[in-house]
């Protein structure tokens, strides 16, 4: 087990209203073994808009919530007031914006601004949440991204995350500000946004396409596994300047992901249109990989003109293998992911049900 430094009295979190942000805050309020050494001291949270505040307080009633744009120096000065010796978890970023230029403004500009303010405030360590998109796609279904891997950004989002990660790693300065990067792939788990609910709804309706053979693999990370990875990145000694893949124990074939979601939904009492589910039943209908290639081309074309279309972007990635090797993370951070796909998806489905989020008709006819 690697050495853990002293826990920080204050944790500053950006992107607090997001999927990971709220999962992190929940772990703060109610830590479990799976969360690793998540800090339990004071937490200060930056929301991107007032609408996020309720969700943040639901996750962590004790959080000190700030509201504002992560690129705004005045917002950050207030956020970092008295933050000497604190730990910063920088999770603010845009994934599916309306305009492509938001990628650079928020993901690169925001990161630069946070680094600058963190440095002048005397923050001890900054943990930056990066992305697999900085590394593109794997060339074969069995290929895995290694700890050391050249940046090969996938479109606008990937380019912005690559630029941000490079700045964060270059900013590491053992005397003043230590920086550590975590690289999560596709999330799942409680606190999910609308796009993930759409994914569940499509699977339940038998309308989620499995492209090609379904043998393409995806690393995924349950948000609580990511909380553990980020908590370790904030605490483990002598890892400044490094970057770590944080994902579930193994990548999953795309067909397994869709099948598992369908089975969990059915288990949890939802009506699932099994017969129409491409790739989820043996011999079931599948969508030719050509569709994903067409979507990718259109996505590239639109992005080159500054426009962004979420469905197209997601569809364009569906025939790709995007998978990483977490061996180095296990070794250096002592990371041991505890949540696996089926259990984690079940938690997400139950989380939706508890909040009255409709996913599919109920098998018992109830609402």
């Amino acid at each position: 087990m690697p050495d853990l430094g002293e826990p920080a009295a204050l944790t500053v979190l950006t992107g607090a209203g997001g999927w990971f942000g709220r999962a992190w805050l929940r772990a703060h309020a109610a830590p479990q073994h799976r969360h690793g050494p998540v800090p339990t001291g004071r937490v200060r949270a930056l929301a991107g808009s007032p609408g996020e505040v309720t969700g943040i307080l639901e996750a962590c009633p004790g959080a000190e919530v700030h509201v504002g744009d992560v690129v705004d120096p005045e917002v950050l000065q207030t956020l970092f007031a008295g933050a000497e010796g604190a730990v910063v978890v920088h999770a603010a970023g845009v994934i599916h914006p309306r305009r492509v230029d938001e990628f650079a403004r928020v993901n690169v500009g925001g990161t630069r601004a946070v680094l600058e303010q963190a440095r002048s405030a005397g923050v001890r360590r900054l943990v930056h949440v990066s992305s697999n998109s900085a590394f593109g796609v794997n060339p074969t279904p069995t290929d895995r991204f290694r700890h050391e891997e050249p940046f090969r950004p996938y479109l606008g989002y990937g380019a912005s995350k690559a630029a941000a990660e490079a700045e964060v790693r270059a900013a590491h300065d053992p005397g003043t500000l230590e920086t550590v990067v975590v690289r999560p792939p596709w999330f799942y788990g409680p606190w999910q946004p609308v796009r993930q609910t759409t994914f569940f709804t499509m699977v339940a309706a038998g309308r989620f396409p499995v492209m090609g053979s379904g043998a393409q693999q995806r690393s995924m990370v349950h948000v609580d596994n990511l909380v553990q990875g980020a908590a370790l990145a904030a605490r483990v000694s002598d890892v400044g300047g490094d970057a770590f893949w944080v994902a579930d124990a193994r990548p999953y074939p795309m067909a397994e992901i869709v099948r598992t979601v369908a089975e969990v939904l059915a288990d949890e009492g939802y009506l699932v249109a099994r017969s129409r589910l491409p790739g989820a039943v043996p011999g079931g209908r599948r969508v030719p990989a050509l569709v994903a290639r067409g979507a990718e081309r259109l996505d590239r074309l639109l992005q080159s003109r500054g426009r962004y279309q979420q469905e197209l972007h997601v569809l364009g990635e569906m025939d790709k293998t995007i998978a990483c090797d977490i061996a180095y993370t296990r070794e250096r951070l002592g990371y041991e992911p505890e949540v696996e796909l089926r259990e984690g998806m079940r938690e997400a489905v139950r989380w939706c049900r508890q909040r009255g989020i409709a996913l599919a008709p109920r098998a018992d006819g109830a609402r």
Binding site: N138, P139, D143, E148, E149, P150, R152, P153, A162
Partner: protein
């Protein structure tokens, strides 16, 4: 010429193993070789002179396609063994199992082949390097260590020589053994066609004259063997040609790395078998050729700049396949190769990973080998430089040609599990054509062991 028990067409590794074993069994053996005999060491290794004298068409052979893939074929006594790097890998059990399964090959598991691998290793004196890595290899090893990527200094068939290790070749080993056991070698003799009648081969036709033989073993390589069968009226599609498409990078370091008399034997196997990174022949003339259109400015000592430059490669296992077709009236067959989308993606990934490694190893600038490539000096340049290698700009090359006459019991196969041609009772193939796929490793050791296995079967008298 008189009549023989066995005529072997081609004196490369497959042909030399065949000739030696047949001659030692007391058969009258003639080896017919199209190229010349050049004593090992008589021309500098990896030089332009070697390309002129020991390669087919002076090394200028191309598989047509988009992109085209330049490949080299030896044409000399000893074949590819005279000009290659002599790197030796044992095939993995998984590889042999996959071949056995996919092509319904009898007796091709690792335990079946292992004794023959031992025979080959003993005769070629396969050994690891003693002492320090030469600088071109050391750079690869340093980069791999910094990135945490696995690699190894690949054993070679070599014996200690004055200064550098002396590579073993067929003319020094198996072909010499064959001649000592009484085999005859006819160099500069091209076999126009085989004399095939009523399901039997009567001999080979050289310069219009038939040399008769009880049996003929074709071992002319994965391009020439199917072409010869086609010219002889044996129905052979020529499909299935497999290669390791390879992209190269010229790397410049602050210090000297290039020892033209040695070669980089280190290979990065972190991504194997899909992807292998290694060092290429880096004679000053080859580097000059690679850099000729780039105009790299060299401060200070321009004439000696090559000492700080070295060529490295990324080679992939390809899903694409090629075809060999002989064309009446033309001496050489037409070779085509179709690179798949996945292949191109894997090559780009390999190129990016290779450049990442070379920068980690301390290279100061890199030039990928495709048309209009940018010079790479920082990590930020790697992604655009890899992405810019499109189909129309790629300049790929390959060695390790295989797959045109895959052994096995699959319906429609030309040869059986032992290389025997199904429709011609006394005709065999025994060279790299038999390997069902380019294996992701230097294939000579594998093909020699399989050649041993096949000729053993032939000699046990079911021919």
């Amino acid at each position: 010429m008189s009549s023989y028990d066995v005529v072997v067409v081609g004196s490369g590794p497959g042909g030399s193993v065949t000739a030696r074993e047949c001659a030692r069994a007391g058969l009258r053996v003639l080896v017919v070789e199209e190229g010349e005999r050049v004593e090992p060491g008589a021309v500098p290794a990896y030089s332009l002179e070697q390309m002129r004298r020991q390669y087919r068409n002076q090394g200028l052979t191309v598989a047509l396609g988009r992109p085209p893939i330049a490949y080299t074929e030896a044409a000399c006594a000893g074949g590819g063994s005279e000009v290659n790097s002599g790197l030796y890998h044992r095939p993995s059990a998984e590889l042999l199992d996959a071949w056995s399964r996919e092509h319904a090959v009898e007796a091709l598991t690792l335990p079946d082949v292992e004794p023959w691998l031992g025979t080959v290793e003993d005769r070629l004196q396969v050994q690891g390097r003693a002492g320090e890595l030469p600088p071109a290899s050391a750079a690869l090893a340093r980069g791999a260590e910094r990135l945490g990527w696995a690699g190894l200094d690949v054993p070679r068939w070599a014996v200690p020589g004055p200064g550098h290790p002396e590579k073993q070749t067929m003319t020094r080993t198996y072909l010499a053994d064959a001649l000592e056991a009484g085999a005859e070698l006819a160099c500069g003799s091209r076999v126009d066609r085989l004399d095939v009648h009523d399901g039997r081969v009567r001999g080979v036709v050289v310069a219009g004259r038939t040399v008769t033989s009880e049996r003929v073993v074709v071992a002319a390589g994965a391009v020439q063997s199917p072409a010869l069968l086609q010219r002889s009226g044996v129905p052979v599609s020529g499909r299935g040609l497999a290669v390791h498409p390879t992209v190269k990078v010229v790397a410049e370091f602050a210090e000297d790395v290039n020892d033209p008399a040695d070669l980089a034997t280190y290979q990065v196997k972190e991504f194997a078998p899909a992807l292998t990174l290694g060092g290429s022949a880096s004679r000053p003339s080859l580097i000059a050729l690679a850099l000729s259109e780039r105009g790299w400015s060299v401060a200070g000592e321009p004439r000696e700049a090559w000492r700080r430059q070295q060529v490295y490669y990324a080679a992939i296992r390809s899903r694409g396949r090629g075809r060999v077709r002989s064309v009446p009236g033309f001496r050489d067959p037409v070779v085509t190769y179709r690179l798949t989308r996945e292949d191109l993606a894997l090559l780009r990934s390999g190129l990016a990973r290779l450049m990442h490694l070379l920068l980690a190893a301390g290279a100061t600038r890199l030039l990928p080998s495709y048309a209009g490539a940018m010079t790479v000096t920082t990590n930020a340049d790697v992604a655009p430089a890899a992405a810019a290698m499109t189909r129309s700009r790629a300049a790929l090359m390959s060695v390790h040609l295989t797959g045109t006459l895959p052994l096995g019991e699959r319906r429609g196969g030309v040869v059986d599990s032992w290389g025997r041609v199904r429709d011609v009772t006394n005709l065999w193939v025994n060279d790299a054509s038999l390997l069902p796929d380019a294996p992701g490793i230097n294939p000579q050791g594998t093909l020699m062991a399989i050649a041993h296995r096949n000729v053993d079967r032939l000699l046990r008298g079911d021919g």
